[in-house]
Symmetry: C2
Subunit: 320 residues, 2 copies
């Protein structure tokens, strides 16, 4: 076990969390991550988004691993209360809440012996999460894929500021996909990392083949944030994103744009492979990724590279 509070609190060997990604966080992926020594994570936005589906997914994951794993529940879900209750009753090890007020469920979850992580995009919301009693803050920078905050605070500046402002452990998310990113996050003050896009590029991830190919071909400038005024979302640049940006620039209202977008766009890209008309959520680190590996290969690679990365930087900066 690495000597970080994140490992102690979560009972995991390595402080590497698989982020909650809508539709593609299956029991198979979560179990593979937990079996490799990290923290796998289901989301309630997989399948039918109802408590029973979530229960089934938790039970299936439990069959595949005896290590701790998490469930991500965005608190804007209309049935958030039932989802939280279901996850607690199924005795999941960790619940990660996001997109809402951490005061609402943290006490309830903790009273039932479940650990709580809360995802925040800024120092102020980090402080509120600490006040609400969460165990760990996941501080997510602007470069992250999928749903983002309205402010564009990046990982590089968020981590040193939030770790100064709170006492509880901070996990860095956004822009991390290898040992360099992990070590940089620790240098900035984090005690763990959460990765999303990198886990799409694993064999265990249920994302459509087209999605993996699109990430493999992405450059550093391949993603864009749409919906800045009504729900910022980072996706691979495509026909749909170009349309949304053009509607935004024309001054169209959020309601008009949302009506044109309709529903099911994320599923369409992530599960059905329609990269152009779907919403292919991806972080900016996509440009670094070329290959699909197994989850175990990913862990082996990161863990094997930590020492060389630290030594190379140390040699340049300290000599010897």
């Amino acid at each position: 076990m690495m000597k970080t509070r994140v490992c102690e609190v979560l009972g995991i060997e390595y402080p590497i969390i698989q982020g909650g990604m809508v539709y593609i966080c299956t029991p198979e992926l979560a179990a593979a991550v937990s079996n490799a020594g990290g923290l796998g994570q289901l989301t309630c936005i997989t399948g039918r988004k109802d408590p029973d589906t979530l229960r089934a997914n938790i039970r299936r994951t439990r069959e595949l691993t005896n290590k701790p794993f998490a469930v991500n529940i965005p608190l804007i879900m209309p049935n958030a209360e039932q989802l939280v209750a279901a996850a607690v009753e199924e005795k999941v090890d960790v619940i990660t809440t996001s997109a809402g007020n951490p005061k609402k469920f943290t006490s309830y979850i903790k009273e039932h012996g479940v650990r709580v992580c809360h995802v925040v995009p800024s120092v102020k919301l980090g402080q509120k999460a600490q006040e609400a009693g969460v165990d760990i803050i996941v501080a997510e920078g602007w470069e992250a894929g999928g749903h983002n905050a309205y402010d564009d605070v990046t990982t590089m500046v968020l981590i040193p500021q939030i770790t100064r402002a709170v006492d509880i452990p901070v996990v860095a998310a956004g822009g991390i996909a290898d040992a360099r990113g992990l070590v940089a996050a620790f240098v900035l003050g984090a005690e763990g990392v959460q990765m999303g896009t990198r886990f799409i590029m694993t064999r265990e991830c249920a994302a459509h083949e087209n999605m993996k190919k699109a990430i493999a071909q992405a450059t550093d400038t391949a993603t864009v944030v749409t919906g800045r005024a009504f729900g910022p979302t980072r996706v691979l640049k495509n026909a749909l994103a170009a349309d949304i940006l053009s509607w935004e620039n024309q001054g169209m209202t959020a309601a008009e744009i949302l009506e044109r977008i309709g529903s099911g766009r994320s599923e369409r890209a992530l599960l059905h492979g329609d990269i152009e008309q779907g919403s292919p959520m991806s972080g900016q680190i996509a440009g670094l990724l070329r290959e699909v590996t197994s989850v175990q290969e990913l862990f082996d690679s990161i863990l094997g590279e930590i020492r060389p990365v630290l030594e190379k930087a140390g040699k340049m900066l300290l000599g010897g």
Copy 2:
């Protein structure tokens, strides 16, 4: 001298460059940075923006230091050719070009024995700068203050991608203000750092007292990028920025917005202290900064913290 190619190429002791900031990069600031062992930098956008003013500033800097220093010349300046010629004739040590095609002047500058750095916001433009023959690439992330690129590639994701794509040394810029930021940049693959906002917070910087106060009071979410469609610029959130964003959201054209903004807004904030109606350019790292120090105190603090920062990360990640 630290063992990085950036130090070797530029002939400096520490791989810390003071970024080119319009109006406030005076000979006094540049000389203080160079005397501390970094690379100080004048800009051609100080005073009258003509070759003679630049010559006078270079000569004045030479009186204050016998160490190498640089001049930043944005290539969109209408008189860029004369400015480059003046800097070369005055035998400045380094010219940093930005905002334009590096093919235009790199050969000319290098033939006269002057080193060339070129500022880029993406891998593609980094590759073009290398092809043009520049000595060093300054890779600037989205969190940087002042004029930014159209794409929002952050430092955390830009550095590992650009250092994989080019062979020449890369300096990281954007979001760096202390030893943690510097070490993180090196871990990600950089061989030097450039800082802007942190140098505003030095006693030697000519920025107005109101500007320094505004940065000292800033939070992590205190900055915003305006002009996304016609010239992205990161500033402290203020009345002017709110107006520009509202005009943008109304679908107003770039020409209409630029006419309303008028000229002289940066000078108004940076030199005259009008934080609300001026353009108070600042990076996102402003939220980390609380105090004004001397340039020498800044260098002492960063250099003294490198070893503890590396050791703390190493202890957590490698144990022992």
